[in-house]
Symmetry: C2
Subunit: 271 residues, 2 copies
């Protein structure tokens, strides 16, 4: 499907856009089923949080409206929304009158091997460490060179995802996923106050677990903690949940809580 820029079909962008110049913007990757953008409220909430923290002006009613119309036309697939600060003057100082530029791109449904979900995956141990930046932590912004470097560390198909640590060696996230650990019945996911992307599926899984009275915890997780984990899984808003079977010399079974949350995620994404 044709891309849209500010509501109009387009396949190119102004060279003055600050998204290109500085990565000055945010994005959302949204699963679309039967013409519906899934987990839309969570995506829009995160986007609004990002816009507030970066002081990017956007009309969220318009964004929501365009996402609904575009998704309806797409039918099935993955919708990418990029929201930049718009065109720039020269230099880093933003034009105070600029308003955000909306870019919508439609892609076919993700074609991940079914075995990832069914049998679980192996995580590549990325040596690229995430830097600490509380001002940007949690946001899905366009400054993604750390993910580019991390994803370039492996080419084999044996590893479906890579695990990224921060500079202090804490477990933070996958390259394109969030990570959860289960220990003694408690569902734990890394604290993202220093770095990392606070994923929409991460938020949904925390919400669903709490609805089921499963104890949850947001905490710092070390590599040592991984050794004690009963279950490990990764998630995002496109593929749902993948059990993690192995990371370096560590291995885990695919556990019951992982399967329960995977079924919930699947139901949400098959809506």
């Amino acid at each position: 499907m044709d891309s849209w820029v500010d509501g109009q079909p387009a396949d190119t962008l102004s060279l003055k856009d600050r998204g290109l110049a500085y990565g000055d913007g945010l994005f959302e990757t949204i699963a679309v089923r039967s013409g519906q953008p899934l987990l839309l409220d969570r995506h829009l909430t995160r986007l609004a949080d990002g816009c507030a923290r970066l002081a990017i002006a956007a009309d969220f009613d318009q964004v929501r409206h365009e996402l609904l119309v575009y998704a309806a036309a797409m039918g099935e697939g993955v919708l990418k929304l990029i929201l930049t600060r718009g065109d720039g003057l020269r230099g880093y100082a933003p034009d105070p009158t600029a308003s955000g530029r909306r870019i919508l791109q439609g892609n076919p449904p993700a074609a991940y091997p079914v075995v990832h979900a069914e049998q679980g995956i192996r995580l590549f141990p990325c040596s690229t460490r995430l830097s600490k930046q509380p001002l940007l932590a949690g946001l899905k912004h366009l400054n993604r060179l750390e993910q580019v470097l991390a994803r370039a560390e492996w080419q084999d198909s044996e590893h479906a995802e890579g695990l990224m640590l921060d500079q202090a060696g804490r477990v933070i996230e996958g390259v394109f996923s969030n990570v959860f650990v289960v220990r003694d019945g408690v569902l734990i996911t890394p604290d993202l106050k220093r770095c990392g992307v606070a994923g929409v599926m991460r938020a949904e899984i925390l919400f669903q677990a709490e609805s089921l009275a499963i104890p949850t915890q947001i905490a710092d997780i070390s590599l040592e903690h991984l050794q004690w984990a009963d279950e490990v899984f990764v998630c995002n808003s496109v593929y749902g949940v993948w059990p993690v079977r192995a990371y370096a010399a560590l291995s885990w079974p695919v556990g019951p809580l992982t399967r329960k949350l995977q079924a919930i995620a699947r139901a949400l994404l098959d809506a």
Copy 2:
């Protein structure tokens, strides 16, 4: 002057470009005088270093050729080169067959107030801290949200630049400049192994100082060190050298070594 994309006049860019999607690229801001791109070899050296570290494929003979032709047509001004990884597939994994996309943008000469150079400037104390990322340190890459946030911290014209510290409180650089300190006749500039952009004018000033047998040092500089400084100045490849007169409660005279290096920089940029 019209922009060029891959050697052709254009004012738009493919929406698939990874420069937009991830800030996956590098840039150079080059002063042009009398049709000549100044400090060209230093700009190309830094660009090549960045391409090697990010594994971006580029034909540097072609880049040099285009810069020379474009600058000749510009005459006077500031030339911005953006080199991205080119179009992307879906996801972070780079297309191994992609080659870098070259974007040239011409701007009129920078119009900074003459008093900045003549009388010196006041640095704004930015609260945005630079994150530690050795894999990207020194590069002029397109992930510049920290600079965007820092530059948005002040709007007054009293501060011509802002000073950025790293997370540990070390003095690193200006938002769009490098910083030098003079103490007991030694010219000191921050070590950029953890973060910061290794500016072309910084390299040139170190080279010129060494040619003049002025002792130089690349070292960690704390805010306490600033209190002991005899002279402080900032530099970049467009404006040359600005003496720094004040930062928060600290103040310095405009010193003789600053004036000497400023004259050398001016001679290079007035070439």
